[in-house]
């Protein structure tokens, strides 16, 4: 039991105050961190506090945010998905291949590409979930396998080359900044987060995701099939990898078999920094959005401060470790505030 945690929260705490403290510790902490970091860089880094830079950050976090949204489902349900980066790569080449098919009109091609991306991702995710639950293999291992398989499949589909020549209307939409402040791809990311938030917070399905992550055996003995929800969470993660692939195509306009390397780690980092517990059952997808923002603000801010590319990962790595330490600390704090 940490002594400082006892000292900062004086006893006894009234119910109303306890609720407020709980909110502060559990939910507002990450947001506060984001605000502080932003204020810090605005004051110290040149060009940081400009609308151009803000737009750039919005554009840059879109892909990671979409991936991290699906990752939140998996981590909440007690698993981990290491395959999303290469599943994204596979989806970009599948999507780009469909889109450049000249026998289709651009509108139809884009729609089909979207469906193909989502279907490919969902199938990969479903396989992750099905294999790990059917044979009771840790998802860590299964998705590590999928990471390699999907990367290989991406090379096969693309014949190991970059696919270019996407329809102009598609490229234009990717560059669109709605109302001068809202990049289209950031809007997609926000919509994905909003949908995830709605599902997790208001639906029976969302409740079951939390319950399965908290104690799957208790859920089973309560008359449910926890494996169904685990498979569903992985399928959702695959699905968002497919959507993230579309966002990738919108932003970079190429389908690439080597896209997405290391993206899974950024997505996991966003989820964990956002306050979702790696052991499952606790967390929020809004936190994930904030976590993705923190990562990008740090990255951009450090760059503008002139911190070299070699040192940047060190700082970001430290922040991730710090977030996990804070998470452990938060658990203890929450246990004391009843």
């Amino acid at each position: 039991m940490s002594e400082t945690s006892q000292a900062t929260i004086s006893a006894p705490v009234s119910p109303g105050r306890a609720k407020f403290l709980r909110f502060l510790v559990r939910d507002a902490g990450v947001l506060l961190a984001l605000v502080l970091i932003t204020v810090f860089f605005s004051a110290t880094a040149p060009y940081f506090a400009t609308s151009g830079n803000a737009l750039k950050i919005f554009v840059q976090i879109a892909i990671n945010t979409v991936l991290a949204a699906g990752m939140t489902f998996v981590i909440l349900s007690g698993g981990i998905d290491l395959s999303v980066g290469s599943v994204l790569a596979l989806c970009t080449v599948v999507g780009a291949t469909v889109m450049i098919d000249e026998s289709l009109s651009p509108g139809v091609a884009i729609l089909l590409a979207l469906l193909a991306c989502m279907a490919t991702g969902a199938v990969c995710g479903f396989l992750n979930g099905w294999i790990s639950t059917r044979w009771k293999i840790p998802s860590f291992i299964v998705t590590l396998g999928m990471l390699n398989m999907a990367a290989g499949a991406a090379r096969v589909v693309s014949d190991n080359s970059t696919i270019t020549g996407l329809p102009q209307s598609f490229v234009d939409f990717g560059n669109l900044i709605i109302g001068g402040f809202l990049p289209s791809i950031f809007l997609i990311a926000v919509l994905v987060i909003a949908a995830g938030w709605f599902v997790l917070r208001f639906t029976v399905f969302g409740r079951m995701i939390f319950a399965v992550g908290t104690n799957d055996e208790a859920v089973r003995l309560s008359g449910h099939n926890p494996d169904f929800y685990k498979v569903a969470a992985f399928t959702i993660s695959g699905l968002t990898a497919g959507i993230a692939a579309m966002v990738y195509l919108l932003r970079l306009n190429i389908g690439s078999p080597i896209a997405g390397v290391g993206y899974e780690l950024n997505a996991i980092a966003a989820v964990i920094i956002g306050g979702t517990s790696l052991s499952g059952g606790k967390g929020s997808i809004i936190g994930t959005l904030v976590g993705a923002c923190i990562l990008q603000v740090l990255s951009t801010g450090l760059q503008l401060l002139g911190v070299g590319d070699n040192f940047k990962p060190i700082v970001i790595g430290l922040v991730i470790v710090l977030a996990v330490i804070l998470d452990a600390y938060r658990e203890r704090l929450l246990r004391v505030i009843r």
Binding site: I9, S10, V13, A18, A211, T214, A218, S222, G223
Partner: protein, 499 residues
């Protein structure tokens, strides 16, 4: 009096609750001191202070005449205070010997573990607690009772001067308890001071010298046990009298068969079993720990696979291959491992209650939080669950209140037959009585109730009929009129003593 341990005005405050206040107590060298109290009375906090897990906010503790301020459990061990916690702390994948000697593994040159010395020393320790088992056995292969004895043997491995046993008999059967008591007496004869925490009032007279009763974090009294009776203790613990703990309701007459199990076969090695419970009947299931009681219930419920057998509900055969089938047919299982299998510990009371049937509080897949709160509040009130609100995490509730939440979740679903595996384990006497009352209410509502328990007096007090398991076999079906502790015990042993 030569005090080995004395507490002066010790207090511990948690945000929102005073766990201990102004507790002054001294333990005499060489005595066996009983500490009693309901859950939440402050016993666990007291132990954790001694163990170095918590530090007191006020007051002082002296051990062996010196100030005792352990910062970590390791400090406590170095001082010679050993604690056997209620939750066992063994490493399942290591051998018994390795577990026993973990703190001081015997070594040869280059830090290589001396296997021979390890096992021979472990064997001696096991002998001390009367456990006849190969010390090379992995701990995961042991039953709970055996693990308990290993824990005690481990506590003996370092010359401890003060041994604290936290509810050591909660998971033991009567013969195992007898053996434990013999060990305690032997330790006492060797001059070890023992602090013994228990819920079972009947047993403390056999081993205790003095008793201290805690209530709501305060010390009620310290007394010589001689001359006291169970009702005295109860009055001290809860501040009022309890006439009949069980409240057997003779007006309830069991009706038609609610659930019957025919030729249930769990595995190739276990015999077939058959039994039935009627509507309004409380059927007791007795047997030693490891006699196949829990396993039979789990197989019936679909929690574990079974080879063969027919389950009938109200005379109609039903197929049960997973718990969801059982639940759909109106069965409920309250598991023996409440925290591990019964509850979503980090989730709120209301979410734990509604998990059994979310369709009741949702429409088109959307949860109606208001309906959920209303339903949960209803059950929390009905069962008198003590929680600060239905949004409190069940982890922070006492054992008795957690058990009520498990009952509430099955009541929320609606059930025709309840299977209760050790429903009052780790539950204090006040909450226990409330659970008994609730069971009678359910029996009156014509539910079938199957109650597995290691507490034979409890079964004899509550049940219309008791079936007895011995080595996976049902060896007896005893009607209430023929209840006799010795008879039931001899049945439970029957298959084990057979040549």
């Amino acid at each position: 009096m030569d005090a080995i341990l004395s507490l002066e005005g010790v207090g511990k405050i948690f945000p929102g609750a005073v766990a201990l206040s102004e507790v002054s107590l001294s333990i005499a060298r060489g005595e066996t001191h009983i500490i009693l109290g309901e859950n939440g009375a402050g016993k666990s906090t007291l132990i954790k202070l001694l163990a170095g897990i918590y530090q007191p906010d006020s007051g002082s503790i002296a051990f062996n005449g010196q100030a005792y301020r352990p910062k970590t459990p390791h400090d406590a061990q170095l001082s010679g205070i050993r604690i056997v916690h209620q939750e066992l702390n063994l490493l399942p994948y290591l051998s018994i010997a390795e577990n026993l000697m973990l703190e001081k593994l015997p070594r040869r040159a280059f830090g290589i573990v001396d296997g021979k010395a390890l096992n021979s020393r472990a064997l001696a320790l096991l002998k001390e607690v009367g456990l006849d088992i190969d010390p090379r056995t992995r701990v995961e292969a042991l039953g709970v009772a055996q693990m308990q004895l290993v824990e005690i043997a481990k506590a003996l491995s370092n010359d401890s001067k003060l041994l604290v046993l936290d509810e050591p008999t909660a998971t033991l059967t009567p013969p195992e308890i007898e053996r434990l008591f013999a060990i305690i007496k032997r330790l006492k004869a060797k001059g070890v001071t023992i602090i013994y925490i228990s819920h079972r009032l009947h047993e403390v007279f056999e081993i205790g010298d003095r008793v201290t009763v805690l209530r709501n974090g305060k010390l009620v009294a310290t007394h010589d046990l001689q001359g006291l009776t169970v009702p005295h203790l109860v009055r001290m613990m809860i501040g009022r009298d309890i006439a009949d703990e069980y409240g057997f309701d003779a007006s309830i007459v069991p009706g038609t068969v609610a659930l019957s199990v025919a030729n249930l076969k769990r595995s190739a090695e276990t015999p077939e079993i058959s039994f039935a419970v009627r509507h309004g009947e409380i059927l007791g299931v007795a047997g030693l720990v490891g006699s196949g009681r829990t396993e039979a219930m789990r197989a019936l419920f679909g929690a574990d696979p079974k080879l063969d057998g027919v389950v009938e509900i109200d005379g109609k055969p039903v197929a049960i291959t997973a718990p969801k089938d059982a639940v759909r047919h109106g069965l409920s299982l309250l598991t023996e491992d409440r925290k591990g299998q019964g509850l979503l510990l980090d989730m709120a009371v209301d979410k734990n209650i509604t998990i059994t049937d979310l369709s009741k509080i949702s429409r088109n897949g959307l949860i109606n939080r208001r309906a959920e709160s209303a339903a949960a509040n209803d059950l929390v009130g009905q069962l008198r669950v003590k929680a600060s609100s239905i949004e409190q995490a069940v982890r922070n509730l006492s054992g008795g209140n957690q058990q009520k939440v498990v009952l509430a979740k099955w009541l929320f679903r609606g059930t025709s037959t309840l299977i209760l595996d050790e429903p009052t384990r780790g539950v204090d006497i006040g909450a226990r009585r409330e659970i008994y009352q609730l069971l009678w209410m359910l029996a009156a509502a014509k539910k079938g109730i199957i109650m597995v328990s290691s507490d034979l007096p409890e079964l004899m007090g509550m049940c219309h009929r008791i079936i007895v398991f011995s080595k996976n076999k049902i060896v007896g079906d005893v009607p209430r009129a023929a209840f006799d502790q010795e008879h039931i015990l001899s049945l439970a042993y029957q298959e084990y003593v057979r040549p």
